[in-house]
């Protein structure tokens, strides 16, 4: 059994090397199919990262009048916290706001001097409201607008839900296009793998004829072609890994610039998910090429 397996692998490798250009074309097409899958994954990872980051920052700020009493502010905080769509409310006092401002501008002496010359704290206290569900931000904004309180100076309702729906819409369109691309590549891969094995069978027709004549088991006749299909899949996956990580490393700085302030790291996403991503891709492309090879063998090798 072990000896037969070694011989099957030997025949398979002979087949690949004897038809090296055909093998290269097959591997390239399979790699292109994998490239389209990985591009789709990249788009999804980036969009998911962006959505998550935006959701984390989708807070609503209520600025309180400077002369409002602590008691009234805490009462307002309690009222807002009790709302169904509110996840949490954070109170920033005048002093906290000043401390944060000073800390934030510690390297900017001009700003700090201006504050010093002013001689008093110009900053307002505020309530930072985190929504429970960002997709329902619109409803929460309406609820907050309805609050009738004298101590509210201004309300910052920058609407993140519109941005989120825009990202979701773009991602969905890209996904649709990518799915069509993947379908085309999968079909092309099947045709190319099928034809590669067909040509290999044609080249080996005399060996196959003799194998059948001398009583070789059918498995020994078709297994080298199946092994070739798996080797094609393995080479295509390795090629895509070798090409994709440098590509991601080149892409990462652009993503950082584009998503300034958000923590999106596409390289670490692919490193952390290496086996689920590339393991599944290898299994998928191996299944495609094995299926194509099996169809070609059944038709042309008559085993």
């Amino acid at each position: 059994m072990f000896l037969s397996m070694i011989r099957i692998i030997k025949f398979s490798l002979q087949d690949i090397t004897r038809n090296i250009w055909l093998s290269i074309v097959t591997i390239t097409i399979l790699a292109l199919a994998l490239l389209s899958v990985n591009m789709l994954l990249t788009v999804q990872a980036v969009s998911q990262g962006a959505v998550k980051a935006i959701k984390e920052k989708a807070n609503i700020s209520l600025y309180i009048k400077a002369d409002a009493s602590e008691e009234n502010i805490l009462s307002l905080k309690k009222q807002i916290s009790s709302m169904a769509l509110v996840k949490s409310v954070q109170y920033t006092s005048k002093q906290d706001a000043l401390n944060y401002f000073r800390d934030h501008n510690k390297n900017n002496p001009q700003v700090l001097n201006a504050l010093k010359e002013l001689g008093w704290n110009p900053l307002s206290p505020s309530l930072i409201i985190s929504p429970g569900d960002v997709d329902k931000s619109e409803d929460l904004i309406n609820d907050i607008k309805k609050i009738d309180s004298d101590i509210i100076e201004s309300r910052d309702f920058s609407n993140n839900s519109a941005l989120l729906s825009k990202i979701n819409s773009i991602t969905s369109k890209i996904n649709d296009a990518a799915m069509v691309l993947i379908a085309i590549f999968v079909l092309t891969s099947m045709l190319v793998a099928y034809n590669s094995i067909k040509v290999a069978i044609y080249i080996h027709r005399r060996e196959i004829e003799i194998m059948r004549l001398v009583g070789s088991p059918n498995s020994f006749i078709y297994m080298p072609f199946m092994i070739s299909a798996v080797i094609y899949a393995l080479c295509a996956t390795m090629l895509i890994i070798a090409l994709f990580y440098p590509f991601l490393s080149l892409l990462q700085p652009y993503l950082e610039v584009f998503f300034t302030g958000y923590n999106i790291n596409i390289v670490s996403y692919f490193v952390e998910n290496f086996w689920p991503v590339f393991g599944v891709q290898f299994l998928g492309v191996a299944a495609i090429s094995i299926l194509s090879s099996w169809l070609a063998i059944r038709r042309y090798a008559r085993v």
């Binding site: 000896l3 059948r212 004549l213 009583g215 070789s216 020994f220």
Partner: protein, 226 residues
């Protein structure tokens, strides 16, 4: 033992190539199957090695009823039957020794046993000195002897020779027939399919004549009479 009972073979569009064939060949017999080209001799050989299914009738080889044989069993049947053809069917990129060894490699035999068997059969066919040559470096007769060596590696009980002398001159053809007779003397049943009148007449063995897919003559110590 080979037994064919009421064998019929019809291809699509009602083309009948074998008609009511009844043959019994005893173990160790030497039989010549003769007839003009296109009379169904090769189809008969193909049915004997399980490559063609008969339309009706029964084909028995030893203990195998090959009309009921499954696809999975065909390789095991073929190891019981050695076959040689007019065109030798050798792999040009393998040496004569490698060509013979290939038949054992693909059946999962270990290397030590392969070396031993190949050396033995190459000696039987008288090619031990030329074993490392390629098919293009030897004569047609020597190529056919290599094919015979390959057919012998599984120690078959039956050897089917389908026009083995068709591509050879008379000297090489006689050498091959002598070799087949020697193999027959070891106890192997030999079925020689041919339309070579001289070869058949010199053999003085049983001759079965086929014409238009039917047996028209079956004679011990027979002659080619068509």
């Amino acid at each position: 033992m080979i037994k064919l009972v009421n064998v019929e073979k019809t291809y699509s569009r009602n083309i009948k190539v074998l008609h009511n064939i009844n043959i019994f060949i005893r173990p160790g017999e030497f039989v010549s199957l003769v007839g003009q080209s296109g009379t169904g001799k090769t189809t008969l050989v193909k049915t004997l090695i399980g490559e063609e299914k008969v339309t009706s009738g029964q084909v028995i080889i030893g203990d195998w009823d090959i009309t009921k044989i499954s696809k999975r069993q065909v390789p095991y049947l073929r190891r019981q039957i050695g076959v040689i053809f007019q065109d030798f069917k050798l792999l040009p990129k393998k040496t004569l020794r490698e060509n013979v060894a290939f038949a054992l490699e693909v059946c999962g035999q270990n290397q030590k046993k392969i070396d031993k068997i190949v050396t033995t059969v190459m000696r039987i066919v008288g090619l031990e000195d030329k074993a490392d040559r390629y098919p293009t470096e030897v004569s047609g007769g020597e190529q056919q002897r290599t094919a015979i060596a390959r057919a012998l590696v599984h120690q078959p009980k039956i050897l089917l020779a389908d026009e083995p002398t068709g591509n050879l001159d008379s000297i090489n053809a006689n050498e091959i027939i002598d070799l087949l007779l020697r193999i027959n003397n070891f106890g192997t049943t030999v079925v020689l399919v041919t339309h070579n009148r001289e070869v058949v007449n010199n053999l003085k063995k049983r001759v079965i004549t086929i014409d238009n897919g039917a047996i028209v003559n079956d004679q011990e110590n027979g002659r080619y009479f068509l």
